[in-house]
């Protein structure tokens, strides 16, 4: 009798378990960096896709500075999450661990973004572009500039310093730098020194260790221009301890005239200071000496979705990605964070920010990064400056290192990474 009770009890528990499992929605794990998870748009859009499919999402959030390493380690050990959301270039990632993706969207990817989506070894599409194509530049406060009689675009470094002096006379901080975080000061160089790299066959020489950047006068000079901003007396006093949030606020409310950002800041300012967003524009960042080096940092990267090849929920994860590239989900994303859509025509329109419009207009006058890559290297991102702690090296110039020291240390680390990747020449 006692035994019978035990058996019935166990059966009951098993049934409850089975029903509970059946009643639970299917779950996908999504790997994401902490910076991205903090943004409203990304999660809101993915949650919308999950809602449409009737599934649950479990986010694995990793600190931004650890994201790449964790992703590569997970890839190497076959432990990737079902879905991966990232803005890193494929050359940094374990792309052979990503599943081939397909959908109506595939043929519509813009030429400038396509380079970021294809496995270079197999030619398979492994990334689905989700977020906008990037625009990096100098955010500016329109009212401050108008008040100081400064017009944009400013096309070289000396004109920029002159403009900053004019702004300073009006009692406003000309340029805001937030060097407490390592990722913001680097934008000053990402938006300006690519021109120097793209000359002749310098990139080829650097990526094969035939030439060191510290030996190239033009490179050291442009790093030095950024370094010397500190001596020019045009920065906010607390630039070493200032944060990105402080920078956005300063440029939005007119405490500062310029602040170097990615266009992701548009959505953030729009959500945090909705009344002030129309006062802020985006322009090129003239850290170069010669006007002919001017260019527009557009199409450098794009936030994409990938699916792990070994995912136990492979079909569901692929379906999730396709659901993300639909009108309802994309609209959720782009309404919160407007930007340049990485597709030619999806059959519906998405909001673009005024910043992207400005940069698109500028790209009619100046070349863009994307144009360069397409023209010179068939669209491939030839040299990835993110190797070698690029961000930390730029930040170190705002903590007392000289431009030459910073460039040397960057390339030393770059070479170590290249050696680990067994790149020829290192």
């Amino acid at each position: 009798m006692k035994m019978k009770k035990w058996v019935l009890g166990a059966l009951g528990l098993m049934c409850t378990g089975l029903f509970a499992t059946a009643a639970c929605a299917e779950t996908l794990t999504v790997m994401i960096g902490s910076e991205d998870s903090g943004g409203v748009a990304v999660k809101a859009a993915m949650d919308k896709a999950a809602e449409i499919m009737g599934i649950d999402l479990e986010y694995s959030v990793f600190p931004t500075d650890q994201f790449l390493n964790v992703l590569n380690t997970k890839g190497a050990t076959g432990n990737l999450d079902d879905v991966i959301f990232t803005s890193y270039s494929l050359s940094d990632l374990p792309y052979n661990e990503f599943a081939e993706l397909s959908g109506d969207w595939q043929e519509k990817i813009t030429d400038t973004t396509r380079q970021f989506t294809v496995n270079p070894e197999t030619g398979e599409t492994v990334f689905a572009p989700f977020g906008p194509e990037s625009n990096f530049g100098l955010a500016y406060n329109k009212k401050v500039l108008e008040n100081a009689g400064v017009t944009v675009p400013i096309v070289n470094y000396s004109d920029f310093l002159e403009a900053c002096e004019k702004i300073k006379e009006t009692g406003v901080t000309p340029l805001y730098v937030s060097a407490q975080e390592n990722w913001t000061p680097q934008i000053l160089l990402l938006t300006s020194f690519t021109t120097t790299l793209m000359k002749d066959d310098l990139v080829d020489q650097l990526t094969t260790n035939q030439v060191k950047p510290q030996d190239v006068e033009g490179i050291v000079k442009i790093w030095d221009n950024v370094c010397k901003l500190q001596d020019a007396g045009i920065l906010n006093e607390d630039y070493r301890s200032a944060t990105h949030d402080m920078g956005k606020k300063a440029v939005a409310n007119g405490e500062a005239a310029f602040y170097c950002v990615t266009d992701g800041a548009y959505g953030e300012i729009m959500n945090e200071y909705p009344d002030l967003i129309d006062d802020v524009g985006l322009t090129i960042c003239p850290m170069w000496d010669n006007e002919e080096d001017a260019f527009v940092m557009a199409n450098r990267s794009c936030r994409c979705l990938a699916v792990a090849k070994n995912s136990k929920n492979l079909d569901l994860a692929k379906e999730f990605v396709n659901t993300c590239i639909t009108e309802e989900v994309m609209t959720t994303y782009y309404e919160l964070s407007p930007g340049a859509v990485p597709y030619r025509d999806l059959g519906f329109s998405l909001p673009m920010s005024s910043w992207n419009e400005e940069m698109t207009a500028l790209s009619e006058t100046f070349p863009t990064y994307g144009d360069w890559c397409n023209a010179l290297y068939d669209g491939k991102p030839k040299m990835n400056p993110f190797f070698g702690d690029f961000d930390l090296r730029v930040q170190s110039m705002f903590s007392g290192k000289t431009a030459e020291e910073a460039v040397t240390e960057w390339y030393t680390k770059y070479a170590e990474d290249a050696k680990a990747k067994r790149v020829e020449g290192f």
Binding site: N69, N72, A179, Q395, A420
Partner: protein, 292 residues
């Protein structure tokens, strides 16, 4: 019979030896071996022997020497300050009273807070423009003393040392306080009869009989000083410009880049350095201990 006894002892030791071997000896030996390879995240399954390359790279790296210097600086400074402050605090609160027992609790309280939380608090305190430290200094007219504590390479390391001392001096105080309680009152009475002043009692009675307490606090402080990580990671992450880089953050960073072979070499070298330093310090302290 003697042989049987010795086998019996080995059987008793076996579980401890096994655990020690699995969790310490084998990983360390494996780590040492990996230090001679190019194992990295990009070629996870294709490990190649690269001789002394990792060690040559390590010793040639400027940041490595900064990290070594900073680690020992942090360890020595915190050992000295935590012990001096802890001892003085113990002296101050050793007399039994309701106020002193309240004070002991207050001084001990920071230990209960997680290190990362302490970092968050101090990042806020040290903020050059909004932090209470600079606001206080400016408020009392000491503008010249208001500094960019964590973002200026000249002050950052000492600012972290001060934070560590604030958090852990209370533990040393407690150990010293227990040590003081353990000294029989007869010794003080005898000293008094001999006409010793208060400070002479402290110097000639209390201090020599408290060497065991000092050994304990030194060991704790040296260990926590040499393995410093969260205090730096949570405040400066090794910056500005590597000026607060310590051995653990250096190791963490190289591991973060996915250079596992190199990281193993870094870990091995650090282990040797720490073992040498600890052996010297413990050797000296052991000789100073007094039985009573």
């Amino acid at each position: 019979m003697k042989k049987k006894k010795s086998i019996y002892a080995w059987w008793l030791l076996l579980p401890a030896i096994l655990i020690y071997a699995i969790f310490f000896i084998i990983p360390n030996v494996a780590g040492m071996a990996l230090g001679f390879t190019d194992w990295n995240v990009y070629f996870f399954d294709d490990i190649r022997f690269n001789g002394l390359e990792n060690f040559a790279r390590l010793f040639g790296e400027k940041t490595f020497w900064i990290a070594v210097k900073n680690t020992f600086y942090f360890a020595i400074m915190t050992v000295v300050l935590k012990n001096v402050l802890g001892f003085l605090l113990a002296l101050a609160v050793r007399r039994e009273s309701r106020f002193n027992s309240y004070l002991r609790t207050v001084i001990f309280l920071p230990i209960m807070i997680s290190s990362i939380v302490v970092c968050i608090i101090f990042v806020s305190i040290y903020n050059p423009s909004t932090g209470i430290l600079n606001q206080f200094l400016n408020g009392i007219g000491l503008h010249a003393l208001a500094k960019s504590w964590l973002v200026d390479e000249r002050y950052a390391m000492n600012a972290i040392v001060a934070m560590e001392v604030w958090q852990w001096a209370g533990l040393n105080m407690l150990i010293f306080y227990s040590g003081m309680q353990a000294i029989p009152s007869e010794y003080y009475e005898a000293a008094k009869i001999d006409g010793a002043s208060y400070w002479q009692e402290v110097r000639y009675v209390m201090l020599p009989l408290m060497v065991q307490s000092f050994t304990i606090t030194f060991i704790f402080s040296i260990i926590s000083g040499l393995k410093v990580f969260s205090q730096v990671y949570g405040t400066t992450n090794g910056g500005p410009a590597d000026s607060t880089q310590v051995m653990a953050t250096f190791l963490y960073r190289s591991f973060s880049h996915g250079h596992y072979g190199y990281s193993a070499a870094v870990g091995f070298v650090f282990m040797v350095l720490i073992m040498l330093f600890s052996a010297i310090v413990f050797g000296i302290l052991r000789k100073k201990e007094v039985e009573y």
